[in-house]
């Protein structure tokens, strides 16, 4: 059975997360071998995930950690008294 592009897109996420079953996985891979468009969609999605996992993309406010521990310290002291 030949997969349509639309069907592949529906399972892109599952394919990346490796939650699609073996048979579907094989069909998708076969499709990707000859379909430039779906390969590009897959690459683009993966690139987004790489960027997302890059700590520089979503940064913490400067001084966040220091302020957090200072606030915690106040709480810890307060409790002890």
């Amino acid at each position: 059975m030949k997969l349509e592009c639309k069907h592949v897109w529906e399972h892109i996420s599952g394919y990346i997360d490796e939650t699609v079953d073996a048979k579907l996985r094989e069909e998708i891979e076969k499709h990707l071998e000859h379909c430039e468009i779906c390969s590009a969609v897959l690459d683009a999605t993966r690139n987004i995930l790489v960027l997302t996992a890059d700590d520089r993309t979503f940064e913490l406010p400067v001084g966040y950690s220091e302020r957090l521990h200072q606030r915690l310290e106040e709480e810890l002291k307060r409790k002890k008294q």
Partner: protein
């Protein structure tokens, strides 16, 4: 993982036994996670920072109720989600979900951006600052339910079960929302990349 679990359980026991100073050490690996989680709900830096502090204090106050049947990280994220939601409710008495919230249910047909160009993006391009900025904007622009799932799964790397538990939704909903979030982001970002990608360089392709 096992070592960390043991260490963590040990730390928790010691904190509960009175060595409260160790709480600083206990939460250090999760500072980023808690902030990003609250931010995914409140979408405001100052509010997220304050909420993250509050969530950590709540975790400290209720540490004795942590049973260890869930992972400590999941427990913390759940507290962070609740703190964010509490703040959101306070901020607006209006309905929580925005009106442009897409309805769930049937498998929505999300057509991805059909551009083959992006597979030819060199690694250097992913290093660009504008690209990270564009992704931040695109994530901020996602409908709430999608942004929250995306943050927990792809930014904080929680698994499906942990994400479902933290958000109080079914595992199936996590998968559907994550898929839609990724497709929406892909659609938003591909055109931006198309105009800036140089035609030569090291390819960042399928080998990932």
């Amino acid at each position: 993982m096992e070592t960390r679990g043991t260490t963590e359980a040990g730390l928790i026991a010691r904190i509960l036994a009175g060595e409260t100073e160790l709480f600083h050490e206990l939460i250090r690996p999760y500072e980023r996670m808690v902030y990003m989680t609250v931010f995914s709900v409140v979408k405001n830096e100052a509010e997220a920072e304050d909420g993250a502090q509050e969530a950590m204090i709540n975790a400290y106050r209720h540490l004795a109720s942590f049973r260890g049947d869930a992972k400590f990280s999941t427990w913390l994220v759940t507290i962070a989600i609740n703190e964010g939601r509490k703040r959101l409710r306070k901020a607006k008495s209006a309905p929580e979900e925005s009106i442009d919230e897409p309805t769930e249910g049937q498998e929505g047909e999300f057509t991805p951006a059909l551009l083959t160009d992006w597979r030819e993006i060199p690694l250097e391009a992913l290093e660009r600052k504008e690209l990270r900025e564009a992704l931040r904007m695109a994530v901020a622009g996602l409908p709430d339910i999608y942004r929250q799932v995306f943050t927990l799964r792809d930014l904080e790397e929680l698994n499906v079960e942990e994400t479902a538990q933290a958000l109080g939704i079914q595992a199936g909903a996590v998968k559907v929302r994550l898929h839609r979030a990724r497709m929406m982001l892909q659609k938003r970002l591909v055109p931006l990349l198309k105009t800036t990608a140089p035609s030569r360089g090291r390819w960042f392709g399928r080998a990932l």
